[in-house]
């Protein structure tokens, strides 16, 4: 009896631990009203911005055996919530040394993508191995990068990437990973930034009828539950 109880608790702990391990970034636990993020930390704050601490750098190291990184790697900056986070799967990097350091450093935007304006900082991602160059393997197709925008306004920004300063920005497939967090593939070293389109249409007002329809749905369901309860008291 006692062992069964302990087994259940152990199974529950394992389940939660597993869920935590496969969730690539910290999430608000476990409910729907999350705490507000701290104000965005700019390298070069816009005029009138409140003085806050400087943005942080993300740093992580992964071991290399037989030329490939042998551990998955997550790294994120230290803000609440992180302004940069990334995940690299096991065997995602090819290198000749014993380990690879992955670093993401914030910097101020110096030039803009065509038809867009960078929101917040640019993050320069570097893979460092003193023994030689580092390349991504086919396993790195699962590598993911998260950037926090300075605002949650919609339509949201797109993730932009360029291989090095001076090269053209390229927009990446971007999805929304939270209120103001955007997700894209980590395609390699270089600069990453979020950018809002400057050639946007008028902001949509949404459908005012939708809340009424949804509220009606809840009320209708309430009515059905009440009717069912009267017809079958055992329910």
């Amino acid at each position: 009896m006692v062992t069964t109880r302990y087994r259940r608790w152990a199974a529950a702990a394992a389940l939660v631990g597993l869920g935590w391990l496969v969730t690539p970034e910290a999430v608000p636990v476990y409910d729907g009203v999350s705490q507000p993020d701290e104000p965005y930390r700019y390298v070069s704050p816009p005029a009138g911005a409140k003085a806050v601490a400087p943005p942080t750098t993300a740093l992580a190291r992964t071991p290399v055996t037989a030329g490939e990184s042998t551990a998955g790697l997550t790294l994120s900056t230290a803000e609440t919530g992180p302004q940069f986070a990334a995940y690299l799967p096991r065997f995602g990097l090819k290198a000749s040394g014993a380990s690879v350091e992955v670093r993401a450093s914030p910097k101020a935007p110096t030039d803009q993508p065509a038809g867009a304006r960078i929101d917040g900082n640019v993050y320069q991602v570097a893979f460092v191995d003193p023994a030689g160059p580092v390349t991504l393997t086919s396993k790195a197709a699962l590598a993911t990068l998260y950037l926090r925008a300075t605002t949650s306004r919609q339509p949201g920004p797109l993730m932009e990437h360029r291989e090095a300063a001076g090269k053209p920005w390229v927009a990446l497939d971007t999805s929304r990973g939270g209120l103001d967090v955007y997700v894209s593939a980590l395609v390699g070293p270089g600069d990453y930034a979020l950018a809002f389109r400057t050639t946007s249409g008028a902001s949509g007002g949404g459908l005012p009828v939708l809340p009424v329809v949804l509220a009606g749905g809840v009320l209708a369901a309430l009515g059905v539950v009440l009717v069912l309860r009267r017809r079958a008291p055992g329910l």
């Binding site: 259940r8 869920g19 409910d31 009203v33 705490q35």
Partner: protein
């Protein structure tokens, strides 16, 4: 046999209606909260305001006992352990208490409403129809999916796992009190552990 069939269909209808209402409540929350839905107190309260009348209409009973409270406390320790461990390992400072009181009040209402509905009303209806394992699974899926519009798909694995644990607490204690205590305490701990 002829008597049993309508009862079974009524139970199917009840589960389907509860799921539809839950979907509408989630949608209403997203619409009310707009782009700031994750931090919107009104949206959270509207959501709770949809779920609690449904639970009342279905005459959901939530028994409170010392054992359920203790199990709920144990559940909170369990689901907070990974976050607390991460906090310890990274030596991140605990968050300050500015704005905590209002946030705790809203979170308590929302989390309790979620548990009374998912681990009370929906659990009861599903367990009568298909058994407790299915009730646990359905509650966990609803719990995970409800967070997707707020935080994105990446929360699915963790919230699915936590949803199963919350369902397990309900099964072990026979009341939604235990998962509600776990859920509220985990949320409150989440204020500091971030």
């Amino acid at each position: 046999m002829t008597q049993a069939l309508p009862d079974r269909w009524l139970r199917v209808v009840q589960v389907v209606v509860l799921l539809a209402a839950f979907g509408c409540a989630v949608g209403l929350r997203v619409v009310v909260g707009g782009a700031g839905v994750t931090q919107s107190y009104p949206a959270g309260l509207v959501f709770a305001g949809c779920l609690l009348p449904l639970a009342a209409a279905a005459r959901t009973r939530v028994a409170v006992s010392g054992r359920a409270l203790a199990v709920g406390l144990g559940g909170a320790v369990l689901v907070c352990a990974p976050v607390a461990l991460g906090q310890l390992l990274t030596l991140r400072p605990l968050h300050d208490t500015r704005g905590l009181a209002a946030w705790v009040a809203v979170v308590t209402v929302v989390a309790t409403a979620e548990e009374v509905f998912l681990r009370g009303t929906l659990y009861d209806a599903t367990a009568r129809l298909a058994g407790e394992p299915v009730a646990i699974a359905l509650g966990a899926v609803c719990f995970a999916l409800l967070h997707v519009p707020l935080y994105g798909w990446h929360v699915l694995p963790l919230d699915l796992a936590v949803g199963v644990v919350l369902g397990g607490l309900r099964q072990a204690t026979g009341t939604a009190t235990a998962p509600a205590v776990t859920h509220v305490l985990a949320d409150v701990a989440g204020w500091f552990l971030r």
